[in-house]
């Protein structure tokens, strides 16, 4: 055990026991996976997006499988701020891992209200602001594709919140660097990217969209090359830390992001394929560091050699 590599990592003001988090919307409120694994081993859990009031979500069908990926149009179904604090947080609080609350609002003000509503709540390590959900009519992606709006949402949340603010970006933009820089300037402590790419699928027999919502968000290994590219772009554009997410299925995928400069990664769709993916990645990173005599995961981050 003496030569166990050190997986601890700092993501701005956040101290994580390892760089492997679960992504919002793919891990529920943690409890769902508790029967299958020791949640405390994770670097952190990002909970399903919380809005001020409960949201029932979109009509079904809400998901459809695509080549090496899936489309979802859940529509940010969630229990709402109040129920989250009362029913979900007490259980999450008991975990010995970072709990990050993903939030969403219909307006700049509402984002602020949700952040304010989380003030003082025990057991929340950070807030992750979703300005990039493609599956809701109002707000969501509309904020995330415009640098000014992104900055306004960020500033509002930073002002209202009493803990670190991570902003999660949409990949559905012409130049991710512009958004990243605007959000950095507005005071974000870190960035997460990417959220899903907008996509669609058609039922050719019935000639209707396969999702009731028509379009949805593409996730899974299919999007990994796009995610990695955007993470790299962001890493080069800002000084705040970047958390990489998109199509990570195993430790090798995670390493691609870490080498490209992400200080942590999130596992999303892979949780559906294998619920213990996060733990497998932690084990894989440990073995990799050992095999290559790397004393700490920190030594790997951002080591990509570009000519």
């Amino acid at each position: 055990m003496a030569n166990l590599p050190d997986l601890k990592i700092r993501v701005g003001p956040l101290n994580l026991k390892n760089p492997v988090l679960t992504a919002s919307g793919t891990f529920g409120y943690g409890a769902e996976f508790a029967p299958l694994m020791d949640l405390n081993r994770l670097g952190g859990i990002v909970v399903k997006g919380i809005s001020l009031r409960p949201r029932e979500g979109n009509q079904p069908p809400r998901i459809v499988e695509t080549p090496c990926g899936m489309l979802n149009a859940i529509g940010l179904a969630n229990v709402g701020l109040e129920a989250f604090l009362e029913e979900k947080l007490p259980r999450l609080r008991k975990l010995r891992t970072a709990v990050i609350v993903n939030i969403y609002g219909n307006s700049v003000e509402e984002y602020g209200e949700v952040a304010a509503g989380l003030r003082g709540a025990d057991g929340i390590s950070a807030i992750e602001v979703n300005i990039s959900c493609p599956n809701v009519k109002q707000g969501g992606m509309a904020f995330g594709t415009d640098p000014d709006m992104s900055a306004r949402v960020t500033a509002r949340v930073v002002k209202a919140a009493d803990r670190p603010v991570i902003v999660k970006l949409s990949p559905n933009v012409t130049d991710i660097r512009r958004i990243a820089m605007a959000v950095e300037d507005a005071g974000a402590d870190a960035l997460t990217l990417i959220n899903t790419l907008t996509g669609m699928a058609v039922d050719i027999e019935r000639r209707v969209p396969r999702l009731a919502n028509v379009s949805g968000g593409l996730s899974g290994p299919a999007i990994r090359p796009v995610a990695l590219y955007m993470v790299r772009q962001a890493v080069k554009a800002v000084r705040i830390p970047v958390i990489g997410v998109g199509g990570i299925m195993d430790y090798r995928d995670a390493l691609e992001f870490l080498i490209a400069g992400a200080r942590a990664v999130q596992v999303g769709t892979a949780n559906f394929v294998h619920p213990r993916t996060g733990l497998h990645i932690i084990d894989g990173l440990t073995d990799f560091c050992r095999a290559y005599d790397i004393p700490a995961i920190e030594h790997i981050i951002g080591t990509l050699k570009e000519k």
Binding site: R62, P221, F272, H274
Partner: protein, 262 residues
């Protein structure tokens, strides 16, 4: 208790046209499973197809759980090519199973097509003294009876759309027929099958005020209640808009569903 494990295939054999029966070794799941629950199977170690596929447990036997599946697409095609000794990632048992009829009264079990799968498990646990198992199929070559999965203590009445076996007509017709000379009325109706069939059965049961439980199928990603992908609309009688089939189902009280939205 939910288990996620790599299970060995004890057998995988064709039992009807495009229908296969697979035995998966899992003492853990076998011990925990109740009728109506399902498992999520990763059909192969590959990224395409990406998601696991849900299958009802159709029988628990020794240290095996059995699934009965029809080849309808790529995932089930791949499954059908697996051989004894191969292994699969399996997670289960998942979801809420069937409830019990009030004060142990007789139950009617109605199946449409592959909907037979969970009802075989239920029929096996109740025994033929406790229930009438009624099943509708398109045609005689589609019929899957208890014998096909090795169950001898379950009897089944059959209807086929084309009359090639049993009564000509639907399982709803069969149910009306049985109800007409069942006395006392059954304590519960259980149903699994395509939506139109479930609608018909639920309508009959609700009209007669017989409690009715239906088992639903939807597309699923996680099977654990985490992704909210498997939503179905709840009826007005409940203080929520949607149920999650994987966790609050797949078995529902017929009155808890918004049948218009299904």
């Amino acid at each position: 208790m939910i288990t996620e494990q790599t299970s060995q295939i004890a057998f995988n054999k064709q039992v009807a046209s495009r229908v296969f029966l697979m035995g998966l070794k899992s003492p853990e799941m076998r011990a925990a499973a109740v009728p109506g629950q399902f498992v999520m199977i990763r059909v192969r170690q590959a990224m395409d197809p990406l998601l696991r596929r849900p299958f009802s447990i159709c029988r628990a036997d020794g240290d095996l759980i059995l699934v009965l599946y029809r080849v309808v697409g790529r995932g089930t095609e791949i499954l059908s090519e697996m051989r004894q000794g191969d292994s699969l990632d399996v997670m289960g048992p998942l979801g809420r199973g069937f409830g019990h009829p009030p004060d142990g009264r007789r139950a009617i079990l109605t199946a449409g097509g592959m909907g037979i799968a969970p009802l075989l498990f239920l029929g096996d646990s109740v025994g033929f003294l406790g229930c009438n198992l009624l099943a509708g199929f398109a045609s005689s070559d589609q019929v899957i009876g208890p014998d096909r999965v090795g169950l001898l203590n379950v009897e089944m009445s059959v209807a086929t759309d084309d009359g090639t076996l049993g009564r000509q007509g639907t399982v709803a017709d069969l149910m009306e027929e049985h109800l007409s000379h069942m006395d006392p009325e059954p304590g519960m109706v259980f149903a699994c099958g395509p939506i139109p069939m479930l609608k018909a059965i639920a309508a009959i049961a609700m009209r007669r005020d017989i409690p009715c439980q239906v088992s639903l199928e939807t597309t699923m990603a996680c099977g654990l209640g985490a992704c909210q992908g498997c939503a179905v609309k709840a009826s007005g009688r409940r203080d929520r808009s949607y149920w999650h089939v994987c966790r609050e189902g797949p078995v529902f009280d017929a009155r808890d569903l918004d049948w218009g939205a299904l």
